[in-house]
């Protein structure tokens, strides 16, 4: 019988049909759906993350893997009506006010989601007040902000200030990223972390929800 290793391998290979097949067969044989997700699907995506970071896998392959994994998650959800998806934590993510770039931000959101985070992707051009609202509504562990423009990166600081004013800054960890962003800048505006790419951002989130303070990820 196909096992967790097959499932994780199918995710790694981005083989959607195989992921669906193995997920079904595991569930049919009575395996705990939580194990199917954690030991099969997410383990596969974790391996993808490592290879991606080492430049052994590339963006299109990561997207294929994520798509395959999602297909597996859908099978689990279909078969288990009352099933509660496990979550490593909640992340609110968005591109800051004035900035309309979403390719990198969406990549980060996708990687986080595939690693087991619940992600609320607010979109682009997000006002500080909207971030505040989202934090009140979703009560996330992490707020992730993106900016591609040097003219909009200061709006990250505004957003952090808005969170402070609303008394929410201590309730969440704020991480930032985007082409012009540096660790230096993150420190300057009082962000809790910076990550240079999607795989590092996911790792950073994992470290932050484990409760370690102010962990930067080296470029």
């Amino acid at each position: 019988m196909a096992g967790f290793e097959d499932l994780s391998q199918a995710v790694l290979e981005g083989d959607e049909a195989r992921v669906v097949e193995v997920t079904k067969s595991l569930l049919d044989s009575g395996v705990d759906p939580l194990d199917v997700i954690n030991k099969g699907l997410i383990t596969g995506m974790d391996r993808v993350g490592v290879l991606f970071k080492n430049n052994e896998m590339f963006v299109p392959e990561v997207l294929m893997s994520a798509k395959a994994m999602n297909a597996g998650v859908e099978v689990v959800k279909e078969k288990q009506q009352a099933f509660d998806m496990p979550s490593l934590g909640k992340v609110v993510i968005g591109t800051v006010r004035g900035d309309l770039h979403d390719i990198g931000k969406n990549l980060v959101a996708m990687m986080m989601e595939s690693s087991g985070f619940t992600v609320y992707n607010l979109g682009v051009d997000i006002e500080p007040a909207k971030f505040v609202e989202a934090v009140k509504e979703y009560r996330p562990d992490i707020v992730a902000m993106s900016a591609l423009l040097t003219t909009t990166m200061m709006n990250m600081k505004e957003t952090i200030d808005a969170l402070k004013e609303a008394g929410l800054k201590d309730k969440v960890k704020v991480i930032i990223g985007g082409a012009p962003i540096t660790q230096e800048f993150a420190d300057e505006i009082g962000a809790d972390g910076y990550a240079p790419d999607a795989a590092s951002a996911t790792e950073l989130c994992k470290q932050l929800v484990e409760g370690r303070e102010k962990v930067g990820v080296p470029a």
Partner: protein, 267 residues
């Protein structure tokens, strides 16, 4: 055919460091080498220096203007920095990079374009961002060309940048851009089409090969200006070869010049 040399950009570490230590000689050298390698414009971008962009822009523009005889391309979304640079871009007609169809930015940048009689790079984006459909892209290009010409800017001075997106996140992005460039070339005669190339290869290995292939493909459908690294000999080699093959190099003059400069020598 026009090349804008992209190397004086503070997002590149050596430039950032040269500015930090006030090393005018380094900036001068990069400007001279780009001009010698065939750049028609020298781009100056210090957008990462959010705290003193206009001052740094003026410092850089002054160095470059004294070092080379080619004109400057002042590159910033910030009107203040654009003005600071353009004031010093006194050799030939300067280029301004960039204006967009976002109403606020259009309003703020247009007077600067006119005031300095600059050629202008117009990014194909509006308040909703970078278009995701071909129709929307055409709509923005039409608006940009109409609004700019209505304001008295000649079509020949407009450089439309259709904005290159990565094929790693959307595998049709390259094909779509090639189609868009063909469409612009056909429907908006007189305007120039410009782009930077490196975005196309984001997230993939061997980026240089993709960038080079894309440069040739885009030129084939009507791209006539590039923002690139003129010190990249392979890229420049393909640029001159492609130009000659497309009948845009009378008597193959530039191709032969490049040959004599040693551009195709294997060492």
């Amino acid at each position: 055919m026009l090349i804008v040399g992209e190397l004086i950009n503070t997002s590149r570490k050596p430039i950032k460091e040269a500015i930090e230590r006030g090393d005018a000689a380094y900036i001068r050298d990069i400007a001279v080498r780009q001009a010698e390698a065939g750049a028609d414009y020298i781009d100056v971008n210090c957008g990462t220096l959010i705290h003193n962009e206009p001052e740094t822009m003026a410092w850089l523009a002054n160095i470059v203007r004294e070092a080379v005889n080619v004109p400057l391309c002042i590159d910033s979304p910030n009107p203040e920095a654009l003005e600071a640079g353009l004031k010093l871009a006194t050799k030939g007609r300067p280029m301004l990079n960039s204006i967009t169809a976002e109403p606020d930015r259009f309003e703020a940048v247009l007077p600067i374009v006119k005031n300095f009689k600059a050629k202008v790079v117009a990014l194909c984006m509006d308040e909703e961002g970078i278009p995701s459909t071909a129709e929307k892209r055409i709509e923005i290009v039409r608006k940009l060309v109409e609004d700019l010409t209505a304001a008295g800017i000649e079509r020949e001075d407009i450089y439309i940048d259709p904005l290159v997106k990565p094929i790693s996140t959307s595998d049709q992005a390259g094909a779509e851009l090639i189609a868009a460039v063909g469409f612009i070339r056909e429907n908006f005669p007189g305007v120039h089409i410009i782009c930077g190339l490196s975005n196309v290869s984001f997230g993939l290995p061997n980026r240089r090969v993709l960038n080079q292939a894309f440069m040739v493909q885009l030129m084939t459908v009507g791209m006539d200006s590039y923002i690139l690294d003129p010190l990249d000999r392979e890229m420049m080699g393909f640029f001159y070869a492609s130009k000659a093959l497309l009948g845009k190099d009378p008597f193959c003059t530039d191709y032969l010049k490049a040959h004599r400069r040693g551009l195709y020598r294997r060492d």
